[in-house]
Subunit: 306 residues, 2 copies
Amino acid sequence: MSIAIIAPNKEVNNWISVFKTIDNQVDVEVYPNITKPEKVDVAVVWLHPHGSLMDFPNLKLICSMGSGVDHIIADPELPKGIPITRIVDPRLTYSMTNYVIMGILNYHRQIFRYIKYKEEKIWDMSDPEIDITVGVMGVGQLGGDVLDKLSALGIPAIGYGNSPKSNFKHSYYYGSQLNDFLSKVNVLVCLLPLTEKTEGRLNMELFEKCTPGTYLINVARGKHLVEEDLIKGLDKEYLSGAMLDVYRQEPLPKEHPFWDHPKIMMTPHIACITMYQAAAPQIMENYHNLKNKLPFKNQVNSSQGY
Amino acid sequence: MSIAIIAPNKEVNNWISVFKTIDNQVDVEVYPNITKPEKVDVAVVWLHPHGSLMDFPNLKLICSMGSGVDHIIADPELPKGIPITRIVDPRLTYSMTNYVIMGILNYHRQIFRYIKYKEEKIWDMSDPEIDITVGVMGVGQLGGDVLDKLSALGIPAIGYGNSPKSNFKHSYYYGSQLNDFLSKVNVLVCLLPLTEKTEGRLNMELFEKCTPGTYLINVARGKHLVEEDLIKGLDKEYLSGAMLDVYRQEPLPKEHPFWDHPKIMMTPHIACITMYQAAAPQIMENYHNLKNKLPFKNQVNSSQGY
């Protein structure tokens, strides 16, 4: 019984040392130097090379090292029927929500306007606020937390998701109610999971339906956004601005038009970063659950892709 | 029985129209064109010329047009023993808290760092957060709301005030516990009332006691801050930055060093602006309470200056 870590370009020594602290008997190997593939029953992965999971004939569990599993499900050679777990980290939720609320308040209280005023030494007290209603697309762990906290701040906010929900705490729209949802909000936050259905969801067709001047915040995945449509949507003033943390290609190439766009604020995929201190113990817990034939924590429903 | 509005440089027609909508019998005159000073029993004031309230021999109530009354109490020729009321506007609290939380989150999530990265096309994912504990000086209506909402966001926050408080919901320090309070926080928000005791409170002596690198947010009054000490405190790195909404002189003169200071973010006294729609009815309510010998709403304790 061993763990294989398959996370090229990721610093994994910190993870291994947490694994060993929790269980000094644990056998860990790191891709591509895996000497005994037949012993591997748990694969711990982040952006693994597609097909690489086929090397393990006795694989019983695939653990994402982050909150998303889209990078796993996207593998056309993913071994079938193996449970997949993800990280649920309260600290990760804290970071994500704080980032999103920062983005919302910076639009509401017009920070970029006042930064310009400071540069130009302008004193102008007129119209200090933009009234906002926030729409959150994707109401899972992260989107739900954003709605809870906006509600605590007294900021009007509603949610939108794929399927109906019973007993949801907040105003909620789903499926074909998208037009209705978009007409009620002027700040749109994307926290959708990335699936075949949601890829490219933030596109011109959607922007045309938005309340004119809607402010977009995308903190989910780069692939949710059709990037050239964002530029067009801003030009046509369907949108008044955007704050982005994720991109189709990361790091974002220097020649990408977002860098110089005056209406786009950007951060380098830092809205939330999984901390190994919180995440590694969750993986060890599932490793022990496998050993002891207990149910896994934070197993994803792979038919829905999240 | 009449109302005198004494608010030079303020647009008051909107206020008068709300007064008349509520009571079309009400008699309102606007300073300096007050023809029957002996009839005035209610003065509605904002930055009134000192001494001007002595013109009304039958004055029975002074209403501030905003949440502060320091501009009234600062008048050395203030008629003695006349009740003073202020505006308490939930919308005003909403605005102030949103502004303060924006300032806190922009420090926590380093918006100014990422703005620079965007300008310079830098992709750097390292250290995306600064861990924060927020200290709020002044825990009245506004400071209390900031503490409540930080707590809802899960952001550690503690309060500091002049006197002991029983049954306060949050960790609270007072009086001589200032050093202890300052040692526990790295974001300091000033929401103190302006009194003789608190004027100039944000000075070098206090900055020296702060956790090194503390971030300062002043949204109370310009006179709370010794402005030259802020520059020194930033130079000596007692403070890492500041967000200011209020200044000793407003509008801030073009030659003021704050404009060009890279560590100071500034807004032109817009954190909260009293909206006449919410404020004018509160003044009319107290006008009617005077008529009907009922207690006043939001009367200040003038011995404490707030």
